[in-house]
């Protein structure tokens, strides 16, 4: 069965969704990711959806679930690169994904993920990184 690859990079898990999602694929991703977080003891999950042109309520819910599940397991998650048309469609559908962190691109997403991890570990991110923009 088709599966979306999950890459491990240090404390992080990286997922780049390159194909259009359908229900089974999204469900597989959800369970694979949660298992991978446990197996690798990951601190952060970054999901790049810049190539995804359709997100309906089911797939939106899966993305929300991934955020909540990772948080319960002690990992932070960020979704990056949502296309404007997808964002507007989700809002019209009534799905605002509150509780899911988002960022414009992978670079900004990594930055956000790091700061969230530092915050959750009780340190102030900006104390250590005074030179950020």
């Amino acid at each position: 069965m088709e599966r979306i690859p999950i890459l491990k990079m240090g404390d992080f898990l990286l997922v780049t969704i390159q194909v259009d999602l359908y229900d089974q694929l999204a469900e597989n991703l959800e369970s694979d990711l949660v298992n991978a977080v446990k197996k690798n003891n990951s601190k952060g999950v970054l999901i790049d959806i810049s190539s995804v042109s359709i997100i309906d309520s089911f797939m939106g819910r899966i993305l929300g679930n991934i955020g909540i599940m990772s948080r319960i397991m002690g990992a932070q998650s960020v979704i990056v690169g949502m296309q404007p048309a997808v964002a507007m469609t989700l809002v019209e559908l009534g799905l605002t994904l509150t509780g899911v962190s988002t960022a414009l691109n992978v670079e900004k997403g990594m930055e956000l993920l790091r700061s969230k991890i530092l915050l959750s570990e009780g340190q102030s991110y900006y104390d250590e990184n005074n030179n950020t923009e």
Binding site: S53, I54, T89, L95
Partner: protein, 139 residues
């Protein structure tokens, strides 16, 4: 529902989840053909994706007619989802935000209605459900 003229029509049979992606691609293809912009395309395909899930989940599969239509002033895509499932008991209730019989968020039907320009649902208990939507090119 508004009076329209059909310019082009094709049927798509949906019986398994694997049919969904090719179906969505076909809808996109037809939308591109009439010159629909990216935002309206996305809304249309998202609506189609919601409805095709209902077709599989509640109707046990069915057919979708994909038509490019015109109302004389503007072109659009019409999709008609027909199943022979158990039908919907209370359509008004099903169209309410937040209502769901399944485990979903209950955004399906009312959310879908907001994504398209025309939305029509007919259902008879025990006979099946037909949902017809139209998205105009610049709608």
């Amino acid at each position: 529902m508004m009076r329209t003229t059909t310019l082009n029509k094709l049927d798509f049979v949906i019986v398994r989840e694997q049919d969904v992606v090719p179906f969505r691609n076909k809808v996109k293809e037809e939308a591109v053909k009439i010159g629909m912009g990216i935002l309206n395309q996305t809304k249309l395909i998202t609506a189609a994706s919601e409805l095709v899930r209902n077709l599989l989940k509640y109707g046990g599969g069915g057919t979708v007619e994909i038509e490019s239509v015109t109302n004389g002033r503007e072109n659009g895509i019409l999709l008609r989802f027909s199943d022979k499932g158990p039908g919907i008991k209370d359509i008004d209730l099903a169209m309410k935000d937040g209502y769901s019989t399944g485990k979903s968020l209950g955004l399906g039907l009312p959310g879908t209605k907001r994504l398209v320009n025309e939305f029509d649902i007919k259902s008879a208990e025990g006979e099946g459900t037909t949902v017809t939507i139209i998205k105009w090119k610049n709608g």
